[in-house]
């Protein structure tokens, strides 16, 4: 419950306060958000499976974000940033979908 509140508060704060994102971070923010979403769905699924461990969640969340940003950063340096970030988004999207399918099976038993 508190976690849900955390999400809601984050969205509200982000919308109300207009935080200035540093220009350095700006290109990586969308990818990082998608990676974090993937981690959250993974955590939700693990919880439903009864195998949730908070430490693992934290590590996977942070490493997802960092790795995604790193890949995009590397892609930018190599000159294939657009393609690579598309690839990352596709992979993360597939994982989000499969996790969502598992969650659905738990919640709706279908």
């Amino acid at each position: 419950m508190i976690a849900v509140l955390g999400l809601v508060v984050g969205v509200v704060v982000g919308l109300l306060v207009r935080p200035e994102v540093p220009a350095m971070v700006e290109p990586y923010l969308p990818i990082a958000v998608v990676a974090a979403l993937d981690a959250v769905f993974g955590g939700l699924r693990a919880m439903l499976d009864g195998i949730f461990v908070d430490k693992v969640f934290v590590v996977s969340f942070l490493s997802n974000v960092v790795v995604a940003a790193l890949i995009v950063f590397l892609g930018d340096k190599l000159g294939v940033g657009a393609q690579l970030s598309t690839g990352v988004v596709v992979v993360l999207g597939i994982r989000i979908f499969s996790n969502a399918a598992a969650i659905r099976r738990h919640v709706f038993r279908a």
Partner: protein
């Protein structure tokens, strides 16, 4: 979305769970309900809440910057370069089109200028020809020749001689007693009842002549010329120069019945 659960869970989150977990009594849905409903403060809840707060923050910022600003914000360098290239291309194309249209406009203006010029020249030519044909009025420097004939001795051919003499001296437009003299003008009749082009004119005969006065006057006054000849016949001829003679007797433009203009 929440989490927390029974502490017997182990495994990985982001990835597929590895092996079979310890058997639990609760189903997934029950676990979800349990995690959601009685709000318990635990370390796991707080940590996950913190991470989800960060996620929500990032989400909101990203959504905001995407909807607030143009698509250019947050675009990568190569995208910006590509967009810039496209804009440059477009600018170039528009410049080219502008150049082409400008050229076209200049061309059209020139051609309309030429048409206007041609029209002016045609008009000018028409006026000149009109003076010759007697269809338009003319004015300019010239002389007035007045022949008075008290004794009725002046014959038509004398007037004709006067016309010939004036023409030879460069007269450009001539009018005799209100009759315009043109190429086909003829003199007929008898002394005292002379007809010009079939119209009777009465003395004194007044010639209005446009031409160079310095040429016209001597041409009439030369020894043995018109003036002397007329004086022999008891007629008097007076020549007066004028700066502005108006020849406004007109003649209808007649279309020839047979002759047609030829291109050469």
């Amino acid at each position: 979305m929440s989490n927390e659960a029974n502490p017997n869970g182990e495994g990985r989150t982001g990835e597929q769970p590895p092996g079979a977990p310890a058997p639990t009594v609760l189903s997934g849905r029950q676990r979800l309900n349990e995690g959601l409903w009685p709000p318990r403060i635990s370390r796991a809840q707080l940590i996950v809440a913190l991470l989800l707060f960060v996620l929500g923050l990032g989400l909101a910022i990203q959504v905001r910057s995407n909807s607030d600003n143009s698509a250019l914000r947050g675009a990568r360098q190569e995208d910006l370069v590509r967009i810039l290239d496209e804009v440059d291309d477009r600018t170039q194309r528009l410049q080219d089109e502008k150049q082409r249209l400008d050229d076209q406009r200049t061309e059209l203006e020139n051609s309309s200028d030429q048409a206007e010029e041609a029209r002016k020249q045609t008009l000018e030519k028409e006026r000149q020809l009109g003076i010759l044909a007697g269809t338009v009025a003319a004015h300019g420097p010239g002389i007035t020749l007045t022949i008075s004939d008290p004794s009725g001795a002046v014959e038509p051919d004398m007037l004709l001689d006067a016309i010939q003499e004036l023409r030879a001296a460069g007269a450009e437009a001539i009018e005799v007693d209100g009759v315009r003299v043109v190429a086909s003008t003829y003199f007929s009749g008898d002394p005292g009842a002379i007809e010009v082009d079939g119209r009777e004119v009465a003395p004194p005969y007044e010639f209005k002549v446009i031409g160079k006065p310095q040429d016209l006057e001597p041409a009439l006054n030369i020894p043995g010329g018109i003036v002397q000849t007329l004086e022999k016949e008891q007629a008097t001829a007076q020549v007066a120069r004028a700066d502005d003679i108006v020849v406004d007797a007109l003649r209808p433009a007649e279309r020839p019945d047979y002759a047609r203009s030829s291109p050469q």
